[in-house]
Point group: D2
Chain length 299, copies 4
C-alpha cells in the first residue's frame, strides 16, 4: 500500500514553538464545572475534598515535568508555570497544552476514589478540562499573572462566602444576589461579621488564597532528604513570598535547603507521596502498588 503517496499531508502540520526564554503558563480550566459540581453534590461555596482532588491532579503534573517552577490552583482552574529555559517537547504548543490537559484529567479521575470514598460520591460522568498556553517575557509579568489569579480567588470567594451564607439564612438565590449588588469588599466583610459572626480572615486559607505547589526538599521520618511536591498556602502577591522561595524565579537559588512542612504534612498531597514511598520502601514491587503515577515516563 503506497504509504508514500499520501505522506505529503504531513507538511500541513505547523508546529508552533513557544518563544524561547519566556515563562510559559499552561492554565487548565474545568469544562462545565458548574453542572459537574451540582451533579456530584459538591459543598458550596467550597468543597474541601474537591479542592484536594484538584491539588492531587496538580501534583501529578508537577511530578511529570521537572521544568515546572510553580503550580497554582483555585476553584476549577490550575496554572502550571514552566521555566523560561524549559525545553519540554521543544516548547511545541499543541503537544504541551494537550498533554497537560490530558494528564491533569486522568490524574483527577485516578484520585477520585481515594478522595471521595469516605463520602461515597461515585463519579457520574467524566470531568474534562481545557487548557491554554500564555507567554510572559519578564519575571514581573509572571508575578502579576499569579497575583491576578490570587486576587481573583479572593474576590470570588468573599462574594461566594457571603452569598451562600445569605442563602443558608433563608434568602432566595436571587434575593441574595440583589443584596450583594454594588457592595464593596468592606460591605461583604461587614455582612459576614454582623449577620453571621464570621470574621472572613479566619476562613480557611485554602479557600481565601488557593493552593501553591512547589517542589521542595524535605526531611523524611528517617532523616533523609527527599524531593516532594509541597502544597503551600500563602499570599503570593507580597514580595515576602518571593524572597522566601527564591528558587521559583531563579532555579540556581539554593533549592537543596530543607523545607519544613509544618502542619502541611497533613495535606493529602503530602500524605499521598509519603504513602507511595512507604510502600516502595516496604519492598513492594512497583507492579504491585499501582502507584505508578510517580513513575510515569513521558515518551
Amino acid at each position: 500500500m503506497a504509504l508514500s503517496r499520501f505522506e505529503y499531508v504531513k507538511q500541513f502540520e505547523q508546529e508552533e514553538k513557544l518563544l524561547p526564554n519566556s515563562w510559559i503558563v499552561v492554565r487548565i480550566d474545568g469544562k462545565g464545572f458548574h453542572r459537574f459540581c451540582n451533579v456530584h453534590s459538591f459543598s458550596k461555596p467550597n468543597d474541601l475534598d474537591a479542592l484536594q482532588l484538584m491539588n492531587l491532579a496538580g501534583m501529578t503534573v508537577l511530578q511529570e515535568f521537572n521544568e515546572i517552577a510553580i503550580g497554582y490552583g483555585q476553584s476549577d482552574e490550575y496554572s502550571f508555570v514552566f521555566r523560561r529555559e524549559a525545553s519540554v517537547y521543544q516548547r511545541r504548543r499543541d503537544k504541551l497544552v494537550s498533554y497537560v490537559a490530558s494528564l491533569f484529567t486522568s490524574a483527577y479521575m485516578f484520585h477520585w476514589t481515594r478522595v471521595f470514598d469516605g463520602r461515597s460520591i461515585a463519579m457520574r460522568y467524566p470531568p474534562s478540562f481545557d487548557a491554554r498556553a500564555v507567554l510572559y517575557p519578564t519575571d514581573e509579568n509572571l508575578r502579576d499573572y499569579l497575583s491576578w489569579r490570587q486576587a481573583d480567588v479572593h474576590v470570588n470567594n468573599l462574594y461566594n462566602t457571603t452569598f451562600w451564607n445569605l442563602v443558608a439564612s433563608g434568602l432566595s438565590n436571587s434575593d441574595a444576589e440583589k443584596r450583594l449588588q454594588g457592595t464593596l469588599a468592606s460591605d461583604k466583610n461587614e455582612i459576614l461579621f454582623s449577620q453571621f459572626g464570621i470574621n472572613y480572615n479566619n476562613e480557611p486559607i485554602i479557600y481565601r488564597k488557593g493552593t501553591i505547589l512547589l517542589p521542595k526538599s524535605v526531611l523524611s521520618s528517617e532523616g533523609k532528604k527527599q524531593r516532594l511536591i509541597v502544597p503551600i498556602f500563602e499570599d503570593l502577591i507580597s514580595d515576602a513570598f518571593w524572597a522566601k522561595h527564591p528558587e521559583i524565579l531563579d532555579k540556581k537559588a539554593k533549592t537543596d535547603e530543607l523545607y519544613d512542612l509544618g502542619e502541611n504534612e497533613a495535606q493529602p498531597v503530602v500524605r499521598y507521596q509519603l504513602e507511595v514511598q512507604e510502600r516502595r520502601k516496604a519492598g513492594m514491587s512497583k507492579s504491585e502498588t499501582g502507584n505508578s503515577l510517580l513513575a510515569t515516563d513521558h515518551s
Copy 2:
C-alpha cells in the same frame, strides 16, 4: 484587592483561530503507550478490548461535537475531522486541541471497567494522550490524510502480525526483527501463509483497517429512527467509500437515509449506546443511570 492592577496580563493571551473553511483534523496520540500496553498486559500484536476502549472514547468525542464529520482510530491514535464550517470554540486552537485530548482521556478511563472487567485488568496508572490540530484546505487533502493513516495501519499491522507469529514460533525478538529486515509486503504475506497457515486478508478487519466512526440514522428495535455513532470497517482509500458515505464531505448530502448496522450492531460502541437508551426508556432518571456521557454539556 486590586484585581484590575493585574488584569493587564490577559493581553498576553494570543488566541490563534484556525483558518475558516478548512478541514480541521485533531489527532490524539497515546503517551508512552508501549509501556502502558506492557504494564496492562495487552495482547500483541492487537488487543481487541483495548481497541474497543479506544472506540468508546472516540464515540464520546463524536457525541460531544456534532461538527465532527468522521472519526478514525487505529493503534493508540484517533483522528477527529471537524467540518470546514465548524465554529466550535470559534475555532480556537488551544481550546480545541486541549479539550479533545481531555475528553478522550476521561472517556477512556470512564469506560475502562466496562471493557476490562471480564479480564480483571485493573488500571495501574492513568493513561494520557497528546493532541495536535492540522488544517486541510481541500477535500482531496483530507482524503489523502485519512488514506495516509489507513495505509499506516496496514503497513504496521502486517509487520506486527508477522513479527509476533515469528516470536510465538520460538524466535527471539531480535531474530524475528532480523528475519523481517528488508522484506516486502508480499514476503510477509508469504511467511504468514507458508509458515503459519495465515491468510492475512482473513485477519479481523478492525486490525487491518482500523475503525471509522460516523454519525448515522439507524432503525431502533421499535422501528424508530435514531442517530447513533456507528463503527464502520471499510477501505476508505477507495472512491467507493466516499460514494457510499457522501455526508462526510457534504453535510447536505442525505443523512436521514437509514443506515443498516448489519453485524456491527454487536460492536461495543453500538451496544453501549443502545443500552443507555434502554435505561432511559425504562424511565430511569438520568441521575440513576450514570450514563451521563451522552448528556455532557459543553460550556
Copy 3:
C-alpha cells in the same frame, strides 16, 4: 570575536510558513495616500496617470514571481494572488509580505518619472505601502475575495464621481457629503445623469472596475509568441470572466493560447514591456538600457 557566543539568538526567529495548497493573497495598501495624493496634486476622483503608475508597479511584481496567478489593483491598493502550490521562499510569511511591499514600492518610485514627466510632477517625498498575507482555502473563497475588492471599487467610485461632480458644480465638500447621505446607488446614478448629463456606465472602465493583470501569451509585431503581463478591464464577479481565463484557477489550462491585446496594446503596462523588448532586440546591452526591472533576480 566570539560570534558563536551570541548565535543562540537565531533560535528566537519563528518563521511562520503559510498553509500549503491554499491561495495566498498579498495585498498592498498605500500608507497615508490621502495626503500623498494632495501633495502631488493627483486629479480627483481618479488620476489616470497615478493608476497607471500603480499598474506598472503591479506589473513588476508579476514579472518577479511567476507563481502569481492574477493581480488586481484599484485606488491605492493592489492584490497579488499566489497559486495554491506556490513555493516561493518556502511560503515564509515575513519574507513574502515584506519583499512584495518593498518591490512594489521601489517599482512605483522607479516608474514615477516615466509616468509624470509630461506633467512635471516631482516626487516630493517617498511613498510607502504596507502589505498583509491572507489565505483562501477554496477557489470560491478566492473568487469572492476578488469580487469583494471589485465591488468595493464600484461603491467607492460611484460615490466619489458623484461627490466631486457636486463639488465641481459649486457645493462645498460638506454640502456634497450631506447631499449624498443615505442615497442608494440608483440615486447617485440619477444625480449624475440628471444634474451632470453623465451616464455612469460610460465612465472609463479602469475607474469603475479597477485593473486586472494576467500573464498572457501574445503575438509580437514580428509574429512571434511572447509572454507579457497584460492589463485587463473586465467584470470579474461574473462566471464569464473565469470561463474566459481558465488558467487563473487551473494552471494546467491551456495558457499557450494566444491572447489578443486589442485596444489594451496602448496601455502603458504593455507599451513599457514592448519598449524594453525593442531595446533589447536593438542589440543594446542590458547595461545600457537601464530596463533591468525585467531582469531582476531574486536571491
Copy 4:
C-alpha cells in the same frame, strides 16, 4: 452591487500581534545585493557612500517611529529595535514588517541622487529589501542579538579586507580564497600587516563596527536643544556602551541630556537633518523644499 455578500472573506485575515512587553527587532536585508553592488560598481570590500545611503534610509525609519530605541546597520542589512512597550500598529506583525521594508526601500531610493551624484552613479534598477520580525524577551537577549550582528560585521569585514587586498595584489579570486581557507583572525591580521602594511584596527570604524543610530538631544548652532537621529560608531558588545547610553534599555533614563556630536557632525545623516532644518528656518515653505521625509505622517 452586493458588497456584503463577499465581505465574509475578511474573516480569513489572521492578524498576528507580537507578544507584549518584548523587544521587537525588525531586520531589513538587501535582496540580491551581490548583483546590485556589481551592477552599480560599488567599491569593495566597502563602499562608504553605499553605507551612508543605508544610514540615510535607516535614519528615515527612526524618524518615522519614535518607539525605536536603537538602529544598527552593517553591510546590506539594518536592524530596528522597537521598545518593549511599543504599540505601533497594535504590534501587528504583517503591517510592521511590510511597512518598515517599504519605508526603508523608498528612503534608499529617495536619497540615492544626493549620495551618488558626485560619482554619477545612476540607478540601473530598483533595489529591494525583505524584512523579518524577531522577539526578544529580555534585555540580555537583545544585547546578545546586537552583539551577534556586530561580531558578524567584524568577522566578515576582516575576511573581506584581507581577501580584496590579496586580489588587489594580483591573486585571482579563487587563489585568494584558498590562501584564507582555515585562517584565524590573527592570521588575517598578520597577512594585512606584513604583506600590505595595514593595521586592521586603523581601518575606518564604520567598516569594522557598523553604524549605530540613536535619537539624541543635541545643541544647535544657535544653542537650542533639538532631537536628532545620531550615527554612532562604537563597540556595543562591551558594558561601557550600555552604561553610556542608558536610554536604549530604559526609556526613562535621562534623554534630555545633551549629546556632543563631536566629529560625527560631519556624518551625512547629521548634515542632512541640519540642512532640512536650515531650509525650514529660512522660511521656505515645506512644499518648496521637498524635504518631506521629515514630515511624513503615518496614517
